[in-house]
Amino acid sequence: MPLSVRTIVLIYLVLFGLAIPWYLPEDPRLVLGMPLWVGTALLFSFIISLFTAWLLLRMQWPDE
């Protein structure tokens, strides 16, 4: 089922909102050798990349 433009925009807003670690307080724990807030930011960044690649590969462009 194709996603509407509104849904795509909403998904991006949520993902970028979660990629910026405003909701993580100071935490001394390390994940993969980096602070927890850095690991979380990278995780959501990777999800954004996956979602974008998925959109690019399945979307039909106007001249196709």
């Binding site: 910026i20 100071e26 050798g33 602070p35 807030w37 690649a53 462009w61 106007p62 001249d63």
Partner: protein, 501 residues
Amino acid sequence: MNELLPFHAGAWIFIGLYLGSLIGIGWLGYRARRENTLADFYLAGSSFGFVILFLTLYATQYSGNTFFGYTGKTYRIGYAWIMSVHFMTAIIVCYLIYAPKLYALARKHGFVTPTDFLQHRYAHSGLNLIATVIMVVVLANFLLAQLMAMGRAMQGLTPGDPVLAFNYGVILLTLIMVIYGTLGGIRAIAWTDAIQGAVLMAGFMILLFVLYQKFGSLGVATQAIQSSADAEIRARLAWPGPERLREWCSYILLVGFAGALYPQAIQRIYAARSAKVLRQGLGVMVFIPFVTTLIAVTAGIYAIAWYPGLTGVESDQILTVMLADIQQHSGFGYWLVVVLFAAALSAMMSTADSALLSISSMLSKDIYAVLIDRTAPQATLTRVGKLVSWGLVACLVWLAIYLQDKASLIQLLDRKFDLLIQLVPAFMLGIHWQGLKAGPVVFGLCAGVVIALLLAYGGFAAVQGGKLYGFHPGLYGLAVNLIIACCGSWYAGRRSGFAST
């Protein structure tokens, strides 16, 4: 020790062969031309397949600044520069807003420059001229930053006077770049980009490998920072406060939107062989920040842990300092640094050559052919573009030499995006909303530029570190720009609606 050991003859032969091969490719590009037209010289007749398109997008988007500037910025602010991964990803996300429709229009109407779209959409000579001037100024700024990075890269390698090394480095590398660029046009640049992109990717991988070999895991570096006696160093590990988080948000918006509007990137959209090739190229590009920007940030973290003490403009040299240390350990380390140096040169030259070609296309097609000689044949315009490249480069080389050690690379980066983002309504909104009118777009654009520059250079007390409340001046300009463009178009639409009823 903060300078690289001077390269031996073997290393210079390797780098000389690499640079010589670029001119050779320029010659091949010249031989491969099909016709003496703007579309062939600047877009290679829209014939780029997946591999060339991906590598040229990659080599163009990741510059010398990614190597030196991003490592330096991480060194200054710490892990928070992980935001660079986000904003480089955001560029590809923002392509989704307008690239699909733009590509179809470009194929249908034979666009060569970004202004061709504006002419097709608005047919407003004032808008064309203002947008072209903004894009040329931005690209000239970008080109200047690359030339300065080239000079800095050469500075540490040559024994003797660093000022002379900077000057001769800038002149020699720019000369090579302008020769292959004006010989073979976009073909030569894309083919050299393919080589430079491959070398650049290898360089980033080698950098990661070398850092791991020498300093151990990232966790060790993080713990070393955590246990530092210096509170300022420990702060570079800390969770970013509200001001830095706003800056994070600002960078995503600013670089995401403005980066997607780089004229040379728009021309690569035009140059794709098919929409499928373009989709595939962008689909791979969206993962590239994880193997380039993230590695530069990682290098910066290692630097905080093991090379404390550099400040200001010096901190942009931190990667050179680290490489100098690695170079002294073994013959293997020495050759790794030689390859890394070639990769850094690749990054700078591939970004600079694309910017130069884009400027030349706009000055020739959008300025000369419109304001000076409307009847000029295509061959003349191509020749004018080449002459403009030489003249412009001569001025910028002089400026780079004059400005050396006067500005940090990141400071240069900030202002060009503030200007470029003002083109968002004209391109990204105008391509979807037919109700957007040229007049309000022009007023909005001018207001946006004035506000962005006023906030950036007005000396207001509220503007701290070039940002107001953590947000870049360009975003405030864009907000006003959008309001004027939308409200003005809506009002004009209503008036014309009343007039016709």
